[in-house]
Protein backbone atom coordinates (compact mmCIF):
# COMPACT_ATOMS: atom_id res chain seq x y z
CA UNK A 1 0.00 0.00 0.00
CA UNK A 2 1.70 3.16 -1.18
CA UNK A 3 0.97 6.38 0.67
CA UNK A 4 -0.28 8.75 -2.04
CA UNK A 5 1.54 11.93 -3.05
CA UNK A 6 0.75 14.83 -0.72
CA UNK A 7 -1.13 12.64 1.77
CA UNK A 8 1.34 13.16 4.61
CA UNK A 9 1.73 16.58 6.25
CA UNK A 10 5.02 18.29 5.23
CA UNK A 11 6.80 17.72 8.56
CA UNK A 12 6.05 14.01 8.53
CA UNK A 13 7.10 13.66 4.90
CA UNK A 14 10.41 15.40 5.70
CA UNK A 15 11.00 13.32 8.83
CA UNK A 16 10.47 9.99 7.06
CA UNK A 17 12.76 11.10 4.27
CA UNK A 18 15.43 11.95 6.84
CA UNK A 19 15.01 8.55 8.50
CA UNK A 20 15.25 6.61 5.24
CA UNK A 21 18.14 8.57 3.79
CA UNK A 22 21.02 6.97 5.79
CA UNK A 23 19.82 3.46 4.85
CA UNK A 24 19.60 4.36 1.16
CA UNK A 25 23.00 6.09 1.18
CA UNK A 26 24.59 3.10 2.89
CA UNK A 27 22.99 0.82 0.32
CA UNK A 28 24.07 3.07 -2.57
CA UNK A 29 27.68 2.98 -1.31
CA UNK A 30 27.58 -0.79 -1.14
CA UNK A 31 26.08 -1.10 -4.62
CA UNK A 32 28.60 1.38 -6.04
CA UNK A 33 31.42 -0.70 -4.58
CA UNK A 34 29.90 -3.90 -5.99
CA UNK A 35 29.61 -2.28 -9.42
CA UNK A 36 33.14 -0.95 -9.22
CA UNK A 37 34.68 -4.29 -8.32
CA UNK A 38 32.70 -6.12 -10.99
CA UNK A 39 31.31 -3.94 -13.80
CA UNK A 40 28.87 -6.64 -14.90
CA UNK A 41 27.03 -6.36 -11.56
CA UNK A 42 25.46 -3.19 -12.93
CA UNK A 43 23.62 -5.10 -15.64
CA UNK A 44 22.55 -7.81 -13.24
CA UNK A 45 21.21 -5.24 -10.78
CA UNK A 46 19.47 -3.35 -13.56
CA UNK A 47 17.74 -6.52 -14.75
CA UNK A 48 16.76 -7.32 -11.17
CA UNK A 49 15.40 -3.82 -10.54
CA UNK A 50 13.32 -3.90 -13.71
CA UNK A 51 12.10 -7.37 -12.72
CA UNK A 52 11.05 -6.09 -9.30
CA UNK A 53 9.07 -3.28 -10.92
CA UNK A 54 7.29 -5.60 -13.34
CA UNK A 55 6.61 -8.09 -10.53
CA UNK A 56 5.00 -5.38 -8.45
CA UNK A 57 2.79 -4.47 -11.41
CA UNK A 58 1.62 -8.08 -11.96
CA UNK A 59 -1.92 -8.53 -10.77
CA UNK A 60 -2.24 -11.18 -8.08
CA UNK A 61 -5.12 -13.59 -8.15
CA UNK A 62 -7.21 -12.27 -5.31
CA UNK A 63 -9.83 -13.95 -3.18
CA UNK A 64 -12.24 -11.06 -3.26
CA UNK A 65 -11.83 -10.40 -6.96
CA UNK A 66 -10.41 -6.97 -6.33
CA UNK A 67 -7.16 -6.18 -8.05
CA UNK A 68 -4.13 -6.36 -5.86
CA UNK A 69 -0.39 -6.30 -6.36
CA UNK A 70 2.61 -8.07 -4.91
CA UNK A 71 5.20 -5.96 -3.12
CA UNK A 72 8.11 -8.22 -4.09
CA UNK A 73 10.01 -7.01 -1.04
CA UNK A 74 10.24 -10.51 0.43
CA UNK A 75 11.51 -12.09 -2.79
CA UNK A 76 13.98 -9.24 -3.28
CA UNK A 77 15.36 -9.64 0.23
CA UNK A 78 15.69 -13.41 -0.26
CA UNK A 79 17.48 -13.04 -3.62
CA UNK A 80 19.65 -9.98 -3.07
CA UNK A 81 19.79 -9.38 0.65
CA UNK A 82 18.30 -6.37 2.44
CA UNK A 83 21.29 -4.05 2.12
CA UNK A 84 21.02 -4.06 -1.68
CA UNK A 85 17.21 -3.96 -1.56
CA UNK A 86 17.19 -0.52 0.11
CA UNK A 87 18.57 1.08 -3.06
CA UNK A 88 16.79 -1.16 -5.58
CA UNK A 89 13.50 -0.68 -3.69
CA UNK A 90 13.96 3.09 -3.68
CA UNK A 91 14.53 3.11 -7.45
CA UNK A 92 11.49 0.88 -8.02
CA UNK A 93 9.33 3.12 -5.79
CA UNK A 94 10.56 6.17 -7.70
CA UNK A 95 9.51 4.60 -10.99
CA UNK A 96 6.16 3.58 -9.53
CA UNK A 97 5.58 7.19 -8.49
CA UNK A 98 6.62 8.61 -11.85
CA UNK A 99 5.32 6.00 -14.31
CA UNK A 100 2.23 4.70 -12.51
CA UNK A 101 1.36 7.57 -10.12
CA UNK A 102 1.45 5.08 -7.22
CA UNK A 103 3.03 6.80 -4.25
CA UNK A 104 4.82 10.09 -4.77
CA UNK A 105 7.92 12.19 -4.42
CA UNK A 106 7.04 13.78 -1.08
CA UNK A 107 5.93 10.46 0.42
CA UNK A 108 8.87 8.57 -1.11
CA UNK A 109 10.76 8.57 2.21
CA UNK A 110 7.83 7.08 4.13
CA UNK A 111 7.18 4.46 1.46
CA UNK A 112 10.87 3.58 1.23
CA UNK A 113 10.99 3.08 4.99
CA UNK A 114 8.06 0.67 5.07
CA UNK A 115 8.64 -1.18 1.79
CA UNK A 116 12.36 -1.05 1.01
CA UNK A 117 13.80 -1.06 4.53
CA UNK A 118 11.52 -2.65 7.15
CA UNK A 119 9.86 -5.24 4.86
CA UNK A 120 13.11 -6.67 3.43
CA UNK A 121 14.92 -6.69 6.80
CA UNK A 122 12.06 -8.52 8.50
CA UNK A 123 11.86 -11.00 5.62
CA UNK A 124 15.60 -11.58 5.64
CA UNK A 125 15.75 -11.93 9.43
CA UNK A 126 12.95 -14.48 9.37
CA UNK A 127 14.55 -16.43 6.54
CA UNK A 128 17.86 -16.60 8.40
CA UNK A 129 16.24 -17.31 11.76
CA UNK A 130 14.00 -20.11 10.57
CA UNK A 131 16.82 -21.65 8.53
CA UNK A 132 18.97 -21.77 11.65
CA UNK A 133 16.13 -23.67 13.29
CA UNK A 134 16.32 -26.17 10.41
CA UNK A 135 12.86 -25.35 9.10
CA UNK A 136 12.07 -26.64 5.60
CA UNK A 137 12.98 -24.04 2.96
CA UNK A 138 9.39 -23.69 1.72
CA UNK A 139 8.21 -22.84 5.25
CA UNK A 140 11.02 -20.31 5.72
CA UNK A 141 10.32 -18.60 2.41
CA UNK A 142 6.57 -18.50 3.07
CA UNK A 143 7.00 -17.00 6.53
CA UNK A 144 9.60 -14.52 5.33
CA UNK A 145 7.51 -13.22 2.44
CA UNK A 146 4.22 -13.19 4.36
CA UNK A 147 5.45 -11.60 7.58
CA UNK A 148 7.66 -9.20 5.61
CA UNK A 149 4.47 -8.02 3.93
CA UNK A 150 2.64 -7.76 7.23
CA UNK A 151 5.51 -5.75 8.70
CA UNK A 152 5.27 -3.34 5.78
CA UNK A 153 1.54 -2.81 6.31
CA UNK A 154 1.97 -2.39 10.06
CA UNK A 155 4.60 0.29 9.49
CA UNK A 156 2.37 2.05 6.95
CA UNK A 157 -0.52 1.99 9.44
CA UNK A 158 1.83 3.40 12.08
CA UNK A 159 2.99 6.17 9.76
CA UNK A 160 -0.61 7.14 8.99
CA UNK A 161 -1.54 6.99 12.69
CA UNK A 162 1.33 9.30 13.64
CA UNK A 163 0.32 11.75 10.93
CA UNK A 164 -3.40 11.66 11.72
CA UNK A 165 -3.95 11.03 15.44
CA UNK A 166 -7.54 10.41 16.41
CA UNK A 167 -9.17 13.50 18.01
CA UNK A 168 -10.49 11.41 20.91
CA UNK A 169 -8.03 8.57 21.45
CA UNK A 170 -4.82 9.88 19.88
CA UNK A 171 -2.22 7.93 17.96
CA UNK A 172 -3.15 4.58 19.52
CA UNK A 173 -6.80 4.85 18.47
CA UNK A 174 -5.81 5.96 15.01
CA UNK A 175 -3.38 3.04 14.69
CA UNK A 176 -6.16 0.60 15.61
CA UNK A 177 -8.40 2.21 12.97
CA UNK A 178 -5.81 1.93 10.19
CA UNK A 179 -4.81 -1.60 11.18
CA UNK A 180 -8.52 -2.39 11.17
CA UNK A 181 -8.77 -1.31 7.52
CA UNK A 182 -5.59 -3.09 6.50
CA UNK A 183 -6.07 -6.39 8.31
CA UNK A 184 -9.03 -7.77 6.37
CA UNK A 185 -7.75 -6.51 3.01
CA UNK A 186 -4.02 -7.10 3.37
CA UNK A 187 -3.83 -10.28 5.44
CA UNK A 188 -5.15 -12.52 2.61
CA UNK A 189 -2.86 -10.63 0.25
CA UNK A 190 0.16 -11.34 2.44
CA UNK A 191 -0.74 -15.05 2.49
CA UNK A 192 -1.08 -15.05 -1.31
CA UNK A 193 2.26 -13.30 -1.67
CA UNK A 194 3.85 -15.85 0.68
CA UNK A 195 2.55 -18.74 -1.42
CA UNK A 196 3.56 -17.00 -4.64
CA UNK A 197 7.10 -16.45 -3.38
CA UNK A 198 7.38 -20.17 -2.55
CA UNK A 199 6.30 -21.05 -6.12
CA UNK A 200 8.87 -18.62 -7.57
CA UNK A 201 11.73 -19.80 -5.36
CA UNK A 202 10.97 -23.46 -6.10
CA UNK A 203 10.89 -22.73 -9.83
CA UNK A 204 14.21 -20.89 -9.70
CA UNK A 205 15.90 -23.61 -7.65
CA UNK A 206 14.74 -26.23 -10.07
CA UNK A 207 15.47 -24.52 -13.38
CA UNK A 208 18.10 -21.87 -12.87
CA UNK A 209 20.49 -22.84 -10.12
CA UNK A 210 23.40 -21.85 -12.41
CA UNK A 211 22.13 -18.31 -12.70
CA UNK A 212 21.39 -18.16 -8.98
CA UNK A 213 24.99 -18.98 -8.23
CA UNK A 214 26.03 -15.90 -10.19
CA UNK A 215 24.25 -13.68 -7.70
CA UNK A 216 27.23 -13.07 -5.45
CA UNK A 217 25.15 -11.36 -2.80
CA UNK A 218 22.77 -14.29 -2.66
CA UNK A 219 22.46 -16.09 0.65
CA UNK A 220 23.93 -19.54 0.21
CA UNK A 221 20.68 -21.00 1.53
CA UNK A 222 19.07 -21.12 -1.90
CA UNK A 223 21.94 -22.69 -3.76
CA UNK A 224 22.78 -25.23 -1.06
CA UNK A 225 21.40 -28.73 -1.37
CA UNK A 226 17.66 -29.04 -1.05
CA UNK A 227 16.27 -29.36 2.43
CA UNK A 228 12.62 -29.57 1.56
Amino acid sequence: MHIAEGFLPPLHAAAWTAISLPFVIFSARRVTRLMHDQPQTKLLLAASGAFAFVLSALKLPSVTGSCSHATGAGLGAILFGPSVMALLGTIVLLFQALLLAHGGLTTLGANVFSMAIVGPWVAYGLLRGTQNLNAPLAVSVFLAAMLGDMATYTVTAGQLALAFPDPASGVAGSFIKFIGVFAPTQLPLAVVEGLLTVVIVNFLREYSSDELQRLKFLPEILTAEARL
Binding site: G6, F7, A57, F95, H102, T106, A168, G173
Partner: protein, 245 residues
Protein backbone atom coordinates in the same frame (compact mmCIF):
# COMPACT_ATOMS: atom_id res chain seq x y z
CA UNK B 1 2.34 3.23 -17.54
CA UNK B 2 2.55 3.07 -21.32
CA UNK B 3 0.21 6.07 -21.57
CA UNK B 4 2.30 8.28 -19.26
CA UNK B 5 5.50 7.36 -21.05
CA UNK B 6 3.92 7.78 -24.50
CA UNK B 7 2.78 11.34 -23.81
CA UNK B 8 6.04 12.20 -22.08
CA UNK B 9 7.87 11.53 -25.35
CA UNK B 10 5.33 13.04 -27.76
CA UNK B 11 3.74 16.06 -26.06
CA UNK B 12 4.10 19.62 -27.33
CA UNK B 13 6.55 20.58 -24.57
CA UNK B 14 8.82 17.58 -25.13
CA UNK B 15 11.59 19.75 -26.61
CA UNK B 16 11.67 22.24 -23.76
CA UNK B 17 14.59 22.04 -21.36
CA UNK B 18 13.59 19.65 -18.52
CA UNK B 19 14.52 22.22 -15.88
CA UNK B 20 11.80 24.55 -17.23
CA UNK B 21 9.26 21.89 -16.24
CA UNK B 22 10.94 20.38 -13.17
CA UNK B 23 11.56 23.56 -11.22
CA UNK B 24 8.03 25.05 -11.44
CA UNK B 25 6.42 21.65 -10.80
CA UNK B 26 8.50 20.99 -7.67
CA UNK B 27 8.00 24.52 -6.35
CA UNK B 28 4.24 24.25 -6.74
CA UNK B 29 4.33 20.81 -5.12
CA UNK B 30 6.13 22.32 -2.12
CA UNK B 31 3.61 25.18 -1.95
CA UNK B 32 0.63 22.81 -1.97
CA UNK B 33 2.15 20.97 0.98
CA UNK B 34 2.99 24.03 3.04
CA UNK B 35 0.09 26.45 2.37
CA UNK B 36 -3.48 25.90 3.62
CA UNK B 37 -4.76 23.09 1.34
CA UNK B 38 -8.32 24.31 0.83
CA UNK B 39 -7.00 27.57 -0.62
CA UNK B 40 -4.00 26.55 -2.68
CA UNK B 41 -5.28 23.08 -3.62
CA UNK B 42 -7.99 23.98 -6.16
CA UNK B 43 -5.79 26.71 -7.65
CA UNK B 44 -2.82 24.38 -8.03
CA UNK B 45 -4.96 21.62 -9.50
CA UNK B 46 -6.55 24.01 -11.99
CA UNK B 47 -3.17 25.49 -12.88
CA UNK B 48 -1.43 22.20 -13.50
CA UNK B 49 -4.37 20.79 -15.46
CA UNK B 50 -4.44 23.92 -17.61
CA UNK B 51 -0.70 23.67 -18.26
CA UNK B 52 -0.88 19.93 -19.03
CA UNK B 53 -3.94 20.06 -21.28
CA UNK B 54 -3.73 23.57 -22.74
CA UNK B 55 0.03 23.93 -22.84
CA UNK B 56 1.49 20.50 -23.48
CA UNK B 57 -1.55 19.29 -25.43
CA UNK B 58 -2.27 16.13 -23.45
CA UNK B 59 -5.88 14.87 -23.60
CA UNK B 60 -7.93 15.72 -20.50
CA UNK B 61 -9.01 12.06 -20.30
CA UNK B 62 -5.41 10.93 -19.79
CA UNK B 63 -4.84 13.53 -17.08
CA UNK B 64 -7.99 12.42 -15.26
CA UNK B 65 -6.86 8.82 -15.58
CA UNK B 66 -3.59 9.62 -13.85
CA UNK B 67 -5.39 11.58 -11.13
CA UNK B 68 -7.69 8.61 -10.53
CA UNK B 69 -4.77 6.36 -9.55
CA UNK B 70 -4.42 7.64 -5.97
CA UNK B 71 -8.17 7.99 -5.62
CA UNK B 72 -8.43 4.42 -4.31
CA UNK B 73 -5.99 5.29 -1.56
CA UNK B 74 -7.94 8.41 -0.66
CA UNK B 75 -11.25 6.55 -0.64
CA UNK B 76 -9.81 3.95 1.73
CA UNK B 77 -8.28 6.51 4.08
CA UNK B 78 -10.81 9.33 4.20
CA UNK B 79 -13.71 7.64 6.05
CA UNK B 80 -11.31 6.62 8.78
CA UNK B 81 -10.14 10.16 9.35
CA UNK B 82 -13.72 11.36 9.66
CA UNK B 83 -14.72 8.65 12.14
CA UNK B 84 -13.31 8.93 15.61
CA UNK B 85 -12.58 6.04 17.94
CA UNK B 86 -12.97 6.62 21.65
CA UNK B 87 -12.01 4.51 24.66
CA UNK B 88 -13.64 6.77 27.28
CA UNK B 89 -16.81 4.83 27.86
CA UNK B 90 -15.80 1.38 26.78
CA UNK B 91 -15.32 1.41 23.06
CA UNK B 92 -17.26 3.66 20.73
CA UNK B 93 -17.12 5.02 17.22
CA UNK B 94 -18.56 8.39 16.41
CA UNK B 95 -18.52 10.90 13.62
CA UNK B 96 -16.16 13.81 14.15
CA UNK B 97 -16.58 17.18 12.38
CA UNK B 98 -12.88 18.00 12.95
CA UNK B 99 -11.99 14.70 11.37
CA UNK B 100 -14.13 15.46 8.34
CA UNK B 101 -12.41 18.81 7.93
CA UNK B 102 -9.03 17.06 8.15
CA UNK B 103 -10.16 14.43 5.65
CA UNK B 104 -11.29 17.10 3.20
CA UNK B 105 -8.05 19.08 3.55
CA UNK B 106 -5.93 15.95 3.14
CA UNK B 107 -7.70 14.78 -0.01
CA UNK B 108 -7.57 18.21 -1.62
CA UNK B 109 -3.86 18.47 -0.78
CA UNK B 110 -3.14 14.99 -2.12
CA UNK B 111 -5.05 15.61 -5.37
CA UNK B 112 -3.27 18.92 -5.95
CA UNK B 113 0.10 17.27 -5.26
CA UNK B 114 -0.70 14.47 -7.72
CA UNK B 115 -1.64 17.19 -10.21
CA UNK B 116 1.86 18.69 -9.92
CA UNK B 117 3.51 15.30 -10.21
CA UNK B 118 1.42 14.23 -13.21
CA UNK B 119 2.20 17.49 -15.01
CA UNK B 120 5.87 16.66 -14.63
CA UNK B 121 5.66 13.01 -15.64
CA UNK B 122 3.29 13.60 -18.56
CA UNK B 123 5.46 16.30 -20.12
CA UNK B 124 8.99 15.07 -19.40
CA UNK B 125 10.44 11.63 -20.18
CA UNK B 126 12.32 9.96 -17.33
CA UNK B 127 15.42 9.80 -19.49
CA UNK B 128 15.51 13.64 -19.45
CA UNK B 129 14.77 13.98 -15.74
CA UNK B 130 17.19 11.48 -14.28
CA UNK B 131 20.43 13.09 -15.49
CA UNK B 132 19.33 16.25 -13.63
CA UNK B 133 19.63 14.50 -10.27
CA UNK B 134 23.33 13.99 -10.95
CA UNK B 135 23.75 17.60 -9.86
CA UNK B 136 22.12 16.69 -6.56
CA UNK B 137 25.14 14.50 -5.80
CA UNK B 138 23.90 11.08 -6.93
CA UNK B 139 26.91 9.08 -8.19
CA UNK B 140 27.17 8.53 -11.95
CA UNK B 141 27.07 4.75 -11.53
CA UNK B 142 23.72 4.87 -9.75
CA UNK B 143 22.30 7.13 -12.46
CA UNK B 144 23.33 4.65 -15.14
CA UNK B 145 21.73 1.91 -13.11
CA UNK B 146 18.47 3.89 -12.95
CA UNK B 147 18.50 4.54 -16.70
CA UNK B 148 19.17 0.87 -17.43
CA UNK B 149 16.25 -0.12 -15.19
CA UNK B 150 14.05 2.39 -17.03
CA UNK B 151 14.91 0.78 -20.35
CA UNK B 152 14.51 -2.80 -19.16
CA UNK B 153 11.15 -2.17 -17.46
CA UNK B 154 9.50 -1.83 -20.85
CA UNK B 155 11.25 -4.89 -22.25
CA UNK B 156 10.11 -7.05 -19.34
CA UNK B 157 6.61 -5.55 -19.16
CA UNK B 158 6.00 -6.62 -22.73
CA UNK B 159 7.19 -10.13 -21.95
CA UNK B 160 5.03 -10.33 -18.84
CA UNK B 161 1.98 -9.29 -20.84
CA UNK B 162 2.66 -11.84 -23.59
CA UNK B 163 3.31 -14.58 -21.04
CA UNK B 164 0.11 -13.83 -19.16
CA UNK B 165 -1.93 -13.93 -22.37
CA UNK B 166 -0.40 -17.26 -23.30
CA UNK B 167 -1.15 -18.67 -19.84
CA UNK B 168 -4.69 -17.31 -19.87
CA UNK B 169 -5.30 -18.87 -23.29
CA UNK B 170 -4.37 -22.25 -21.75
CA UNK B 171 -6.82 -21.74 -18.86
CA UNK B 172 -3.98 -20.89 -16.50
CA UNK B 173 -6.18 -18.47 -14.59
CA UNK B 174 -9.41 -20.44 -14.56
CA UNK B 175 -9.22 -21.24 -10.85
CA UNK B 176 -7.67 -19.51 -7.86
CA UNK B 177 -4.96 -22.11 -7.23
CA UNK B 178 -4.10 -22.29 -10.95
CA UNK B 179 -3.88 -18.51 -11.06
CA UNK B 180 -1.47 -18.52 -8.14
CA UNK B 181 0.69 -21.19 -9.76
CA UNK B 182 0.62 -19.44 -13.13
CA UNK B 183 1.62 -16.11 -11.60
CA UNK B 184 4.47 -17.80 -9.76
CA UNK B 185 5.70 -19.56 -12.89
CA UNK B 186 5.41 -16.34 -14.89
CA UNK B 187 7.42 -14.40 -12.31
CA UNK B 188 10.06 -17.13 -12.03
CA UNK B 189 10.34 -17.34 -15.80
CA UNK B 190 10.61 -13.57 -16.04
CA UNK B 191 13.43 -13.56 -13.52
CA UNK B 192 15.27 -16.27 -15.40
CA UNK B 193 14.95 -14.27 -18.61
CA UNK B 194 16.03 -11.11 -16.81
CA UNK B 195 19.24 -12.84 -15.75
CA UNK B 196 19.78 -14.20 -19.27
CA UNK B 197 19.20 -10.73 -20.68
CA UNK B 198 21.71 -9.25 -18.24
CA UNK B 199 24.27 -11.83 -19.32
CA UNK B 200 23.71 -11.10 -23.02
CA UNK B 201 24.05 -7.37 -22.39
CA UNK B 202 27.26 -8.10 -20.53
CA UNK B 203 28.78 -10.11 -23.38
CA UNK B 204 27.67 -7.56 -25.96
CA UNK B 205 29.15 -4.68 -24.00
CA UNK B 206 32.35 -6.55 -23.17
CA UNK B 207 32.86 -7.04 -26.91
CA UNK B 208 32.67 -3.25 -27.28
CA UNK B 209 35.27 -2.58 -24.60
CA UNK B 210 32.96 -1.98 -21.63
CA UNK B 211 34.95 -0.97 -18.58
CA UNK B 212 32.35 0.26 -16.15
CA UNK B 213 30.59 3.21 -17.74
CA UNK B 214 28.14 3.47 -20.57
CA UNK B 215 28.77 6.38 -22.86
CA UNK B 216 25.57 7.76 -24.36
CA UNK B 217 24.75 10.96 -26.19
CA UNK B 218 22.52 13.13 -24.05
CA UNK B 219 20.25 15.40 -26.06
CA UNK B 220 20.69 18.97 -24.89
CA UNK B 221 17.84 21.45 -25.17
CA UNK B 222 18.57 25.15 -24.79
CA UNK B 223 17.34 26.48 -21.45
CA UNK B 224 15.07 29.48 -21.99
CA UNK B 225 15.40 31.82 -19.02
CA UNK B 226 12.36 33.93 -19.99
CA UNK B 227 10.14 30.84 -20.09
CA UNK B 228 11.49 29.59 -16.77
CA UNK B 229 10.99 33.03 -15.22
CA UNK B 230 7.43 33.18 -16.56
CA UNK B 231 6.59 29.73 -15.18
CA UNK B 232 8.08 30.56 -11.79
CA UNK B 233 6.17 33.86 -11.70
CA UNK B 234 2.91 32.02 -12.41
CA UNK B 235 3.69 29.55 -9.63
CA UNK B 236 4.51 32.42 -7.27
CA UNK B 237 1.27 34.21 -8.22
CA UNK B 238 -0.69 31.00 -7.52
CA UNK B 239 0.85 30.94 -4.07
CA UNK B 240 0.05 34.60 -3.45
CA UNK B 241 -3.49 34.28 -4.83
CA UNK B 242 -4.21 31.51 -2.33
CA UNK B 243 -3.61 34.01 0.47
CA UNK B 244 -6.19 36.35 -1.02
CA UNK B 245 -9.17 34.09 -1.40
Amino acid sequence: MQAIDHYAWTNRWRNRHPLEKLLPALTLLLLTLVLPPLRIGPLALAGTTLATVGGAGIPLKTVLGVLAAPAAFLLAGIPFLAISLSFNDGFSLHFSPDGLQLALETSVRALAAVGCLSFLTLTTPMADLIPLVRRAGVPAGIIELILLIYRLIFVFAERALTGRQAQAARLGYSRFDRGLRSTGLLAGNLFQRALARARRLEIGLAARGYAGDLKVLQLEWPLSWPRLALAMTLVGLTGLASGWI
